[in-house]
Symmetry: C2
DNA sequence: AATGACTATTGATCTATATCAAAGTAAACC
DNA sequence: GGTTTACTTTGATATAGATCAATAGTCATT
């Protein structure tokens, strides 16, 4: 099903540009959004290890392969362990619209719960890996253990909040520049979520993917990047990005 | 706190234009998103009437008053019983950005659960009313009754899905025209959700509110409405709107 | 019916971004 | 290493929508 494009940009094991990238970085379990339902759960006075019955850990996914198809019935919800996924919606005429990205430590497919179908297609950008939780089994377990359910609610609503933040950051912006800058700041925080904040990172996705997601043309995107670089606000070479003046950039992002 | 603007447009009890509007229409409980946690819950073999302990029914809210403040700590989640609410976010410089509308039967404040604060201010457009559920009490009850929790999850994820649909309909559109048409179709469905579909309705909000929400200028909005009317696709007089050719409009909405 | 305060529409012009076209650059494959 | 293919940048031009300015409805009060 998934057509695997071998080109993998910054995610390839050996990458001439872009410093520290590569060597597939796994998120630590303690930093992962799925964590609340992965460990033993307290019930009454005792600890139960239910997770074994619904959790599958760290499945590898090749670059370009997909975790699930749009409209497929919900089976699992996922957490990204390493790599990045792009979420693609397709309109009637088959054009792809990227509706989001998911980085290591973030949930994937969690917003499929209500209509019981995945709302988009999730494609790995570069070599990636996933943990998955079987919904039906999770529901079974949580019928018996209220605490598990509460943790599940908390996990869902947290991710939902993050998703909305991302979207709102975009909907609210007026100029292409503030839009792009808001995106870069958002990405920087999410990519380095667990490390300390360096403001340097490799953009895992192509310019086309970014432009598509932001609703801009690639040419516009490119011009703005050039302009920001000339203004000494960023340094970008290929996929490697460094935010040089976060204060000014933050102000720009709020138009 | 809330400054009540007395002018109420189509929601006023007597309205010269706009046919059937007015006489505050309450949504039936069976059609309301809150319904799953409002009635008796099955636990073991017996039915429990827990809802009395956390549910407050049909509080009236005057036009222009607010249900909650942005950033206030989450206390209740609401369902709109009658009327409409606009959700306003404020940026640093105090400009208001409308991030959504909620119609009768829809939830309000449900997306405050993760950060435990409301993400926006909710203001009644016209005389409205709300049911509310006290979160802390709901959580207490649901610790004892797993079924209640499952219903709560279902309720949250359903509303979340609808919210996202609304947002995506907007983010994806390219032209102001397709954006506006998508909005009109979305509104038509939500306003007449429980009745049969007539494609005629009163726009409860002002042109300014619509323009603000869609990220357009009022002048642009006005021009597009005029153009759609000249093309015999809609009939609009003041707040009263009739969609004349839903097929063509739907095609327009997908650009 | 006249006044005042909004609210909505229309017209003229400007500008940010799209579009069209071409060239430059990096990665993959033989 | 050289060729092919995909990705990215730059330039010239067109246009959708913003902005500025004015007019015209609408409703509430007197």
């Amino acid at each position: 099903m998934a057509k695997s494009k071998a080109r993998s940009g910054a995610s390839a094991p050996f990458n001439s540009r872009g410093m520290n990238s590569s060597q597939e970085q796994y998120v630590k379990c303690q930093d992962c959004a799925m964590n609340p339902v992965c460990g033993p759960v307290v019930s009454g006075g005792s600890q139960l290890s239910l997770a074994d019955s619904y959790l599958t850990k760290r499945c590898a996914i090749q670059s370009g392969e997909q975790a699930f198809e749009k409209h497929a019935p919900l089976k699992d919800i996922f957490a990204v362990c390493s790599g990045v996924f792009k979420l693609c919606d397709q309109n009637e005429i088959g054009e792809e619209k990227i509706v989001g990205f998911r980085f290591a430590g973030e949930l994937l497919g969690d917003d499929a719960i209500s209509p019981n179908r995945y709302n988009y297609k999730a494609i790995a950008i570069g070599k990636s890996s996933l943990c998955k939780v079987a919904m039906s089994q999770l529901v079974d377990c949580s019928k018996a253990v209220p605490n598990l359910q509460l943790q599940f609610i908390s996990l869902l609503t947290k991710q939902n909040y993050l998703n909305h933040q991302g979207i709102n950051a975009i909907v609210a912006k007026k100029t292409a520049e503030s839009l792009l800058v808001a995106f870069l700041l958002n990405i920087a925080k999410r990519i380095n979520a667990s490390n300390e904040q360096t403001w340097q990172f490799d953009l895992p996705m192509s310019r086309d993917d970014i432009a598509n997601f932001l609703g801009l043309r690639r040419e516009t995107l490119s011009r703005i990047l050039t302009k920001l670089q000339k203004g000494n606000l960023i340094m970008i070479q290929g996929k490697n990005m460094k935010l040089l003046n976060v204060d000014v950039l933050s102000r720009l992002a709020n138009q």
